[in-house]
Amino acid sequence: MEAGLVTPAPALVRFSGIQKTYDGEHLVVKNLDLDIRKGEFITLLGPSGSGKTTTLMMLAGFEVPTQGEIYLADRPIKNMPPHQRDIGMVFQNYALFPHLTIEENVAFPLSVRKINKAETQARVKAALRMIKMETLAQRRPGQLSGGQQQRVALARALVFNPQLVLMDEPLGALDKRLREQMQLEIKQLHETMGITVVYVTHDQSEALTMSDRIAVFNDGIVQQIDRPDALYEHPVNSFVANFVGESNVLAGTVETIEKDYCRVALAAGGSVMARAVNIAGAGASTSLSVRPERIAIIPDGASSDGPNRLPAKVQNTIYLGDHALAVLDVAGNAEFMVKLQPGAHDSLRHSSLRPGENVFITFRPEDCLALDPV
């Protein structure tokens, strides 16, 4: 994996052979080995039920691993109660104490640590200044908006300088605009304070925006851990390719393999050259994955120079402001998406594509990944 090439910072958290089952029949987390480096922003990304939240809860101490050990700064913490772990946590529904003011909420972790009054006051003030909410210190959580509440929750989780901050879908309850703004704020806090953040989300764009590394979970297994760009450009399997970003899938069979590339015969006829990423060998079935923005549409009859050229039928076009999507029928996939950049293909604006029109698509072999069959 790519991550292995980077000189690793010392691991702050190490999951070692972690398994977790709730009912004694199904493993929610299957054999998790994961290192989290000091100072990094790592996101656990996956669909619901993939085991990402369970992993976070085991780290926080609210769930006990069925097998394996978790080390925090080289100390085993499997049997350490949550309040001794020194891990700050931000919850999806903020979990601000409703009977305390904002100031009292932020002071809570300091007061349970018996920190003297003067220092508590100074640190609470600094924390509230950090989130630009000094003026609302005497309010109750119920009097704040969702975004403000989440900021307070953030301040509360950071004010006691924990070794590690966990965030469990913290922006899930906010609207899109606010969510994007908070993503930047959290990212900024991470960079200025140098904290280690473990972030759980099912929103892949959020993961791509914020993370240093992303661990993609599915079915209790980490599918891939990598930098966001590597994850997007070099997914190791079909699940990652489809979950992170948009992807068009074409089913086919591997005919020949030449070094890093292979020729794939499509199930619906025709063949393309693709990068051989995750295939069993010649004769094996495979799923091809092509990103919508790596495809060009050329009019019927026009010539092209690449090896990959497939006939397509326009189904529909969708206008999205900064770009447009063409929905095509390509080799049996009736939801084949092609992203049209405004200005990029003047002759092929979305408005010029008529439903039912026959066109061709081309893409480079290096943009077409041959992955495990779906």
Binding site: P82, A95, F97, H99, E104, P109, F160
Partner: protein
């Protein structure tokens, strides 16, 4: 504001808008009123009416005025310093004769006897021995001869005090107070001064039962609020089970359990823990046990509803912020249950204040609560005035408590229940 700077034009359009809003709302309001009207009427007749009646009876005092109208009128101008004049004696003599004929003398005698022990004898003996209206000017002498009590100032002040039409006599009596011969408010004689004790006892038992209910109910409510739905529903049925049996049956069951040859004593004896049966019933212990059992659901349900609203995320958040379980409970969980504790406590306390059957059946003579005496005066001795006065004092105390509770809850919302 911009609205005011736009001069009168805006104000002109605003009034019709408000009126239109009112008109639009009116239908809705009428519908809402129609929905609550049956209950409102019902409550007026069964609740507000009787309470107003009771409060009125506590100060209503017209029995003597009706039986001895001339006397009461004659005494109206009397200063009470000396014996009244001949006119009053003559009026009394004529009143007594008239009342004897109409049969109202016994009612007046009963009322006067409340205020002065032995008055019944004075009045009835006078009525018996007074043959005819005395010659003018001899009334004082005649009555004094029949019963020397007519020469006492106390006898006359008693009649004047009972002349009505309203009196503070019953209310004072309910607080162990009385008026002396000079009209000053003084402590009642020791043999009549029992109600302060009874009120004290009533409040003490109610408070004890409330605390017991809280201690026993809190863990159960917590369990109910945190168990998975299936098991929580089962537990809830057990909590509500007592409501399905009559209060009388449950109280009698406690008698069976707790009496000296009862299940508890027999078991303890059989286990060799005791030699003599313990006295578990017809005392304060039995009253508290039985009342706690009956009132427990009223504590558990409000507690449960307040706990159900507390998200488990709060305790997790507290733990992740470094609070050990006990700290998290005391500083995060408990304060959020305070509304439930307050509501449950107030409910149980107020219900306990009015408890009658349970203490009457399982309590001893020294454990009878105020409602026992209210029932005694209404059903046995027909002293409606005193029964109503006791009820009025109890009602007043309860309202005061509810107001104090309201203030406390409100204050908590404004200033915050906890300080760091």
């Amino acid at each position: 504001m911009t609205a005011t700077s736009l001069t009168g034009a805006n104000a002109l359009t605003e009034v019709p808008l408000k009126r239109r809003l009112r008109r639009a709302e009116r239908t809705r309001q009428v519908k809402a009123l129609a929905l609550v009207l049956p209950l409102l009427v019902f409550l007026l007749f069964t609740f507000a009416g009787p309470i107003a009646g009771m409060l009125w009876r506590a100060i209503d005092d017209r029995e003597v005025r009706q039986a001895l109208p001339q006397t009461v009128a004659a005494l109206a101008s009397w200063d009470g310093k000396d014996l009244p004049d001949e006119k009053a004696y003559a009026a009394l003599a004529s009143d007594i004769l008239a009342a004897r004929a109409s049969g109202t003398i016994a009612i007046a005698a009963k009322r006067l006897n409340y205020a002065l022990n032995g008055f019944r004898t004075i009045l009835t003996s006078t009525a018996r021995n007074l043959k005819a209206v005395p010659e003018p000017g001899t009334a004082r002498e005649t009555l004094g001869k029949i019963n020397p009590a007519w020469r006492e100032r106390t006898t006359w002040t008693t009649i004047k005090d009972a002349g009505g039409p309203v009196t503070g006599f019953y209310l004072l009596a309910a607080l162990d107070l009385t008026r002396n011969v000079d009209g000053a408010i003084v402590a009642a004689p020791p043999d009549q001064a029992i109600y302060r004790d009874v009120f004290g006892r009533t409040f003490l038992i109610s408070l004890g039962v409330t605390v017991l209910c809280l201690l026993l109910g809190f863990p159960v409510a917590y369990l109910l609020a945190t168990l998975p739905p299936g098991r929580s529903n089962l537990l809830m049925i057990f909590v509500l089970l007592p409501f399905w049996t009559s209060l009388l049956v449950r109280t009698c069951a406690w008698i069976v359990l707790l009496q000296s040859k009862g299940v508890v004593n027999d078991s303890l004896h059989w286990l060799g823990i005791i030699d003599e049966p313990l006295r578990l019933i017809y005392n304060r212990f039995g009253v508290c046990v039985a009342m706690t059992h009956v009132l427990l659901p009223f504590m558990i349900l409000p507690l449960y509803s307040s706990m159900k609203a507390i998200s488990p995320a709060y305790m997790r958040a507290a733990a992740s912020l470094g609070a050990p379980p006990l700290t998290a409970f005391l500083r995060i969980y408990l304060p959020q249950t305070l509304p439930g504790i307050g509501a449950g406590g107030l409910l149980v306390f107020i219900l306990a204040l009015g408890y009658y059957i349970t203490p009457a059946l399982v309590g001893g003579a020294a454990d009878q609560m105020i409602s026992y005496f209210i029932a005694l005066y209404t059903t046995e001795t027909a002293n409606w005035g005193l029964a109503s006065a006791l009820g009025a004092v109890l009602l007043l105390a309860t309202i005061l408590l509810a107001l104090v509770y309201g203030k406390l809850v409100q204050g908590q919302q404004v200033t915050g229940g906890m300080k760091n």
